[in-house]
Structures are given as C-alpha cells and as structure tokens.
Amino acid sequence: MSDKAKIRITINGVVHEREAPPRMLLVDYIRDVVGLKGTRYGCDTSNCGSCTIVMDGRSAKSCTFLAVQADGREVTTIEGLAEGSALNPLQAAFQEAHALQCGFCTSGMVMSAHALLAHNPAPSVEEIREGIIGNLCRCTGYVPVIEAVQAAARRLDPKGGTP
C-alpha cells in the first residue's frame, strides 16, 4: 500500500516530475517537493483559501487535492504571476490599495482574484465579493482587497472595469 506514484505537474510553465505517495497533498508537493513556498499552508481544513492556486484555469485549494489528482495538469502559483521583478497588474494593485497587512492570505487571495478576472474581466463589486468568499482575510476587512481587484480589472481591461 501507498507505493510511490509518478506525478507530473506543469507548474508555472515548468514540468516537474517526481515520485510521491498517493496520499501526499498537492500543497505539500508544491511547497516541499518542488520547493515553491509562496503557496501558504493555512487552516488545512479547506476553509481559509490561503493555499489557493490556479489549476487548468480554475482556482483550487491545494490542501484539498491529492497531488496525484494534479498529475498531467497545469498549475499556476503566486510565483507564476510576476515577470521577473515586475509585478503583474493584480499584484501591483494589491500593493497600491494596501490590500494586505500581514500578508498571509495574500497569495491565495491574489490567485482567486486571478482566476476570477480570467473568467470575468469586469466583475461587479458583488461578483468580486462572491469570487473571494473562499478566501479569509483577518486584517483588511476585505474592502481594500475589493478595491484592488477593481483597479486591476480596469488596468487589464480599460473598457471594462467595475461600476
């Protein structure tokens, strides 16, 4: 039982093929096998959303997946957004709007917002609120987060933007 499985995941455009036991969680594969520590390990009970990544275009809580479920899939983590030292528009908007304080939820929050904007480039405030329901933030009260997502939406799609 629990022999190792070969798991091949494309993370931020790079193919990683490693052996891991089937019971290993995706968040552990990303953080400890591949070594990308930007994805946070928060509540470990599918509630807080700090471990959110984007997999095959859909946001996903990486503590709620076995690594084997991601075999053959494409994952984007927070490390995959910036180009070199240039923050992507969403990250820049979080910085400018002070959409973080302690920063623990931020990588997951940004990845949820990233998936939201990919599906809905001009979300309403209500849609942003619904889109980040799976991500808890204990510092900001969410208002600056919503403002940052609105600002990023305007920057990414100047014709859109939120009312």
Binding site: M1, S2, P22, T64, G72, S112
Partner: protein
C-alpha cells in the same frame, strides 16, 4: 494532515471503475473532484484502502436536453460551476442554476461534482433537496447495467445512499417543469462558507388562474437526509396559492423537518427557519411566475 495510506488507481472507463469497485468491495472509494472526500480522508472520518480516481473520465460531464423524454440529462462529473454556467440548465431548470451558485465557494464549485455531492449525501448538501423538488432521478451504474432511482428514495441516512458497493452514479435525469412553472432555492447560512442552517427548494406549476397544479417541496439540513415534504406538496396541489393555503403548507413543512440541534441552532429554531424559508421561496416563485426578477440563493 495526511489521509491514512491507500492504494490508488486511475479508472479508464466506467466499466473499469466498476471492476475496481468489485475487486476492492467496501474498502474502495471513488474520487471525482475530491472536494468532500479529501477533507473527510484528512480528518480520517473516511479511510478507504483503495481510491479509484474517476476525475478524468471523459463523456460524463455533458449537459443536454432530451426533448422526447422531457428531461435534461446531466453527467455525474459535471462540476457545480459547469451546471451553474449551462445555458440549457438556466433555461429549463433555473432552480438548479440558483442552487449551483450557492454551493461552497468558487474553489469548490470549479472542482466538486454533482454526482460526487449526491453520493456523499451530506445532510446539509444542496443538490439533494433540489433534485427531490424537481423529481430528478439518479442513474446508478453497476456490473449488471443502469438502474434509475428517484431522488426521493435515493438517500438512506446521513452520508448513506442506496448505491451498492459496486455501483457509481453516472448521471442525472431531471424532468423539465412545464412552462409557467417557477421555483426558488433558499439557503440560510450564519456566514459565508458555512454549512446551511437549513435550506428549502420549491418548484410550483401554476395554471392561468393562479392555481397550483403541481408542487415540489424539499428541505436540506433539516434531518439526516434531504426531506421531500410530500404533505406540503399535497396541501398546495389543486389550490389557489393564497395566504391560507401557504400557511397550511408551511405547517406541513415544519412537521416534515426533523433537524438536529447543533452550533447552528436548536431543533425548534431550525424548524422555524424551514417554515420561514418556505414562505419566502413560495413568494419568490410567485413573483418569478409574474415575470419579476428576484434574487434567491443565500439568506444570511
């Protein structure tokens, strides 16, 4: 937290999945999106010796109308998000669109599946009451073929369904309500992302005079299984939907509810919530029937 160790296989077809289920009997669990199974395994409330991954099976997530049979067929692996975004579902079964939008959060909706949620049979699940109100049917596929089970008799107990150890859900058949039918799904939560305090699904068919010709009423988080409130349906059927009728039906709803007291409230409180949500859902259905746009879903 790691789940207990298990053997893992990827099913290449429905037949292959059933063959694996037969070989491993009650120690095996099917994994589709894993949005309920993985947390349960991490808490070691479920400890399968064998996990059979059906998450990549093709052809099991289609949504299509079968006009001859008068049903919409939905593959078991359709995610909540796919159901919520489906044009066919929005046009034919808007009650399902409404429910799909309030399941979990975006992360869960993108990966959790309709079949998986029904098979898990969480007492607070959303699809159970919705399927019962719409009189949906569950396609259970086993070694000897498909048997079709009414949603009203699919659930046996908390986390327990009529599925045999070597059966899997492959799809849903949901009858399309007649034109002039309207419904609402309402779920009360203490806060975003929590399990429901209670939820109510209502689907009414109304004639030109405003009489109810058919009613589907079902409750979630109101007992160990979803509850089809048959007495409430009977109280509405054939009647004008007026104050007295709805009042009588709401009494039947509260009698049908059998909620357990927990951190979300006492049994009496939850029973009262069921009655209140039912009133509100009937009112919404009537307003929708008149062509008004009304937002249902969450009640917080």
């Amino acid at each position: 937290m790691y789940p207990a160790a298990f053997d893992y296989s990827v099913a290449e077809s429905v037949d292959h999945a059933i063959d694996l289920l037969q070989r491993h009997e009650e120690g095996a669990k099917l994994l589709s999106g894993g949005q309920s199974l993985v947390p349960l395994m991490k808490l070691r409330l479920v400890q399968p010796t064998h996990v059979i991954d059906i998450g990549r099976l093709g052809g099991l997530s289609d949504v299509r109308e079968d006009a001859t049979a008068g049903v919409v067929r939905i593959g078991a692996l359709a995610t909540h998000a796919q159901v919520g975004a489906s044009t066919v579902v929005r046009e034919k079964l808007p009650l399902m669109t409404e429910a799909a939008g309030v399941i979990g959060d975006a992360q869960v909706r993108g990966w959790g599946t309709l079949g998986g949620a029904l098979a898990e049979a969480d007492p607070a699940g959303d699809w159970g009451p919705v399927m019962q109100a719409l009189e949906g049917r569950v396609e259970c596929t086993g070694p000897s073929g498909i048997r079709v089970v009414e949603a009203a008799s699919f659930f046996v107990d908390a986390y327990t369904t009529v599925l045999a150890d070597d059966e899997m859900i492959t799809g849903l058949q949901v009858p399309v309500p007649s034109k002039g039918s309207a419904g609402a799904y309402l779920k009360m939560e203490r806060r975003a992302g929590d399990f429901a305090v209670a939820s109510v699904a209502v689907q009414l068919e109304l004639d030109g005079a405003g009489n109810c010709t058919k009613a589907g009423v079902a409750l979630g988080a109101a007992g160990l299984t979803p509850i089809k409130a048959v007495a409430a349906e009977e109280a509405l059927r054939g009647q004008p939907v007026a104050q007295e009728t709805v009042e009588a039906a709401a009494e039947r709803v509260m009698e049908a509810a059998n909620p357990l007291a927990d951190v979300r409230g006492s049994s009496d409180y939850k029973r009262a919530v069921c009655g209140a949500l039912f009133w509100k859902a009937v009112d919404m259905a009537l307003r929708r029937h008149r062509g008004e746009t009304v937002k249902g879903g969450h009640v917080r």
